[in-house]
């Protein structure tokens, strides 16, 4: 029976914080140094420290070693040695990820792609860019700007995050309602399997024969293969973009306004929402001119030809008015447009400014449940005694509640962690998902138990085994084992259907 087949795929690797056996580090380092230039292997404690965590710094682990290959041949050599010696391999881009996806394995090698940092080709007539995975997201758009083109996915970390990391996480950004996620903007990948075998998925054409392994690998969090080259789709830069900013005296009304814009047949290029706490946190920081008396602020962007933008902005103003906006302003210049956006883009740093620590969540829910979710979060603030400010990619229902806490105070991180897990569980109950764009990593392993049944998780392990038979690529991430879910002990929620929908949950 397939279930039995699937069960056989449950990984058997050790816990990721179990230290390597004595002498193991030296032995593996020697094996890697035999096939790599000396400066490509880091093994000293001081050298390893910067790799202890990614953007989610509450999860830390010193790796056994770090490898920094420069060429595909060197990268293949790392994989071949790790495979031969049974060493886990954790790929790492810029280390800006927010789910601990690049957190090292204590007995593993961190494979940094930082030196794969070249844009190999911008083919303007074909509107594609061929880049190495270590290239920064924003660098692609900068290189394409000369041809009137840009790379659409723009996660808020785009000045620092790498394309390889974007592929691993299927990153979004503020413009994905109209322009799609990384998945929709990658035409092809070149990579290596755990055996060190080169593999190409997709390419310069729009489709490829066989199963869509390209789609499967995007967002696979480094569990399936190591990417060495990415073919990106570039799109024409719109002639004009304008933002409409609207204030609402009630978050529910703002949520309804979002639905009303979509119902009017408009797909804004960006549709974002901030609650009062978020606006108040960012305003002193960026002076964006936000209405601090509003319960919620909506930012709706239109881009395209001047004619289109003019029409669409007018239509959005009318919809927002009808939805009960208390104030509406439209950006009159590019500088003003960027100023309106600056607060939204700086929400995370602003959270860091008003609180010693913050924990950024990343659930998605059907838009219609936004108001209900916000009310629930408010109750959770009381329950856990912690503040939470909310920013949303409202157009696609993707929430980023920022839970404020102080890690130096005993018990606060644990409370923040449980607060976050409650939010994610509610996302699943409301018909959504535990991660919209940040990935599962190590952070949301427990929440995966809530969203997926044992058979579904077994199928994920089957996929993993099909790509990575020895199970060495980023082990222990993204998919929780049966044992872990049993230990977590929370119920699997059947896709938006609660067993007792009438019971109060918070």
């Amino acid at each position: 029976m397939p279930q039995a087949e699937f069960d056989a795929d449950e990984p058997r690797w050790s816990q990721s914080d179990e230290a390597p056996a004595p002498g193991r580090r030296l032995a593996v380092a020697a094996a890697l140094r035999a096939v790599l230039p000396a400066d490509c292997v880091l093994s000293g404690d001081n050298e390893l420290r910067p790799y202890e965590c990614d953007g989610l710094s509450v999860f830390r682990q010193q790796p056994m070693l770090v490898a920094l290959p420069r060429t595909e041949a060197e990268l293949r050599a790392v994989l071949v040695e790790c495979r031969r010696l049974g060493v886990p391999v954790v790929a790492r881009g810029a280390g800006t990820g927010l789910s601990g996806g690049a957190m090292p394995h204590a007995c593993g090698v961190v494979l940094s792609l930082a030196r794969f940092d070249r844009i190999l080709e911008i083919n303007a007539p074909a509107r594609i860019a061929r880049v190495q995975p270590g290239v920064r997201n924003l660098a692609v758009s900068e290189a394409a700007a000369a041809y009137g083109l840009f790379y659409a996915p723009d996660p808020s970390s785009q000045i620092a995050c790498s394309i390889g990391g974007n592929v691993a996480e299927n990153s979004g950004g503020v413009h994905c309602l109209k322009y799609g996620l990384t998945l929709h903007n990658v035409l092809g990948l070149r990579g290596c399997t755990i055996d060190g075998e080169p593999i190409e998925l997709g390419g310069g054409a729009l489709d490829a024969p066989g199963l869509d392994l390209l789609a499967l690998c995007i967002g696979s969090e480094g569990l399936l293969l190591i990417v060495t080259e990415v073919i990106l789709r570039l799109v024409p830069k719109p002639e004009l973009a304008q933002v409409v900013m609207a204030s609402f005296d009630d978050v529910g009304k703002a949520g309804e306004a979002v639905a009303a814009i979509i119902a009017a047949g408009i797909i804004p290029s960006g549709l974002e929402m901030m609650d009062r706490k978020a606006a108040a946190a960012v305003e002193p920081f960026v002076n964006a001119g936000y209405d601090l008396s509003a319960a919620a602020i909506l930012l709706a962007e239109s881009d395209g030809t001047p004619e289109e933008v003019n029409e669409e902005v007018g239509a959005m103003e009318r919809v927002l008015q009808a939805a009960g906006a208390t104030a509406i302003s439209v950006s009159r210049s590019e500088a003003e447009r960027l100023r309106f956006w600056s607060g939204r883009k700086n929400a995370f740093p602003a959270a860091g400014r008003i609180s010693p620590d913050y924990y950024c969540m990343d659930g998605t829910i059907p838009r219609k449940n936004l108001g209900q979710m916000l009310k629930a979060i408010e109750q959770m603030e009381h329950k856990y005694g912690l503040q939470c400010m909310n920013v949303f990619h409202a157009g696609d229902g993707n929430l980023h509640p920022l839970i404020l806490f102080d890690a130096n105070r005993t018990g606060e991180w644990e409370r923040a962690d449980r607060f976050g897990a409650d939010i994610l569980e509610l996302c699943v109950q409301l018909g959504g998902t535990i991660t919209g764009e940040h990935g599962v990593g190590v952070e949301k392993l427990n929440s995966m138990c809530v969203q997926f049944s044992p058979a579904e998780r077994a199928a994920f392990f089957a996929v993993k085994r099909a790509f990575d038979p020895p199970g060495l690529l980023n082990p222990g991430k993204a998919i929780p084992t049966l044992a872990r879910c049993a230990e977590y002990g929370r119920m699997h929620v059947r896709h938006g259907r609660l067993a007792h929908p009438d019971l109060p949950r918070f």
Binding site: I262, T305, E311, G439
Partner: protein
Amino acid sequence: MDRMDSALQDLRRRVIDANAAKTPLRLRGAGTKDFYGERCDGALLDMRGYCGVVDYEPSELVITARCGTSLSDIESLLARNRQFLAFEPPAFAPDPTIGGIIACGLSGPRRSQAGAARDFVLGAVLLCADGELLHFGGKVIKNVAGFDVSRLLCGSLGILGAITEVSLKVLPLPRTEQTLQFEMPAAQALESFNRWAGLPLPISASGWWNGQARVRLSGAPSALRAARTRLGGELLDAALADPWWRSLRDQTHTFFRDTDTLWRLSLPSSAPPVAGAGTQLIEWGGALRWCASDLPAAQLRALATAAGGTALHWRGGAPGQRFHPLAPSVLAIHRRLKARFDPHRIFNPGRLIADL
């Protein structure tokens, strides 16, 4: 138990029995794409009984339907709410099912601008060989929890299991559409399509046949006016234009009807015209080249490979060799996926790859 529950239980029972007996099943919706892919033998498993829209809220931009729901039902429901399936799924005959559409993963003229079928798949329910129903993805636009198995199923031709339900992203209908026509040879059309696609113009489809290039514009009336001024060309009457695009989508165009052997070349859009590959029709801004050619398969495949793409023997050709061959490393993963999802090869054996 309601009718749909029992239809689903029937499907499950058929699958469980087939798996126990290790006898193959041939999954089928309306059968409008029976010609597509390799031949596969097995007891017919008609998916049409499990049908109906499960969930649709226009403001969420998502529709969820059971596999047997017909395209015409979905299209008319969406049209009543001024929305549509933007990948323009082909209907080679009346009336394909949504399950078949996603299992085949084919897209129509809007593909180069709006995206392919897989780009609109948000979630799917898979009936596995052991009769389990697995939910992948969901009903929201952004979702990175777990591997993207629902998109893997799109275009899988049923070899991993039976898709019983899909959730798809839908979009608002464009407010206006107009088609412009240009007299030009293929090379000039390809150069123009690629140049125009690099400009911020509301182009939603492009095609070339027999010395004529056609470009469809979609969007706000004012944007279309501005684009027409910029592009020139001759405005084609909507009464001619709409059926023409549909004839490409559904392959009722003369070009498709008049040929026994047909190749589908998927190439980088900027690849020059493929010389020596017979009469050609171009879609997707140059990324799709249909060739009515009698060239030996090996030669045609070599031409496609040299141009940076692949060739599919759409009509005619030797059994077992319709699809472009896969690289060994990619084929190995296909084998392992099939072995894990369908160890007794009960689902559409051989339909995608001869011995899988």
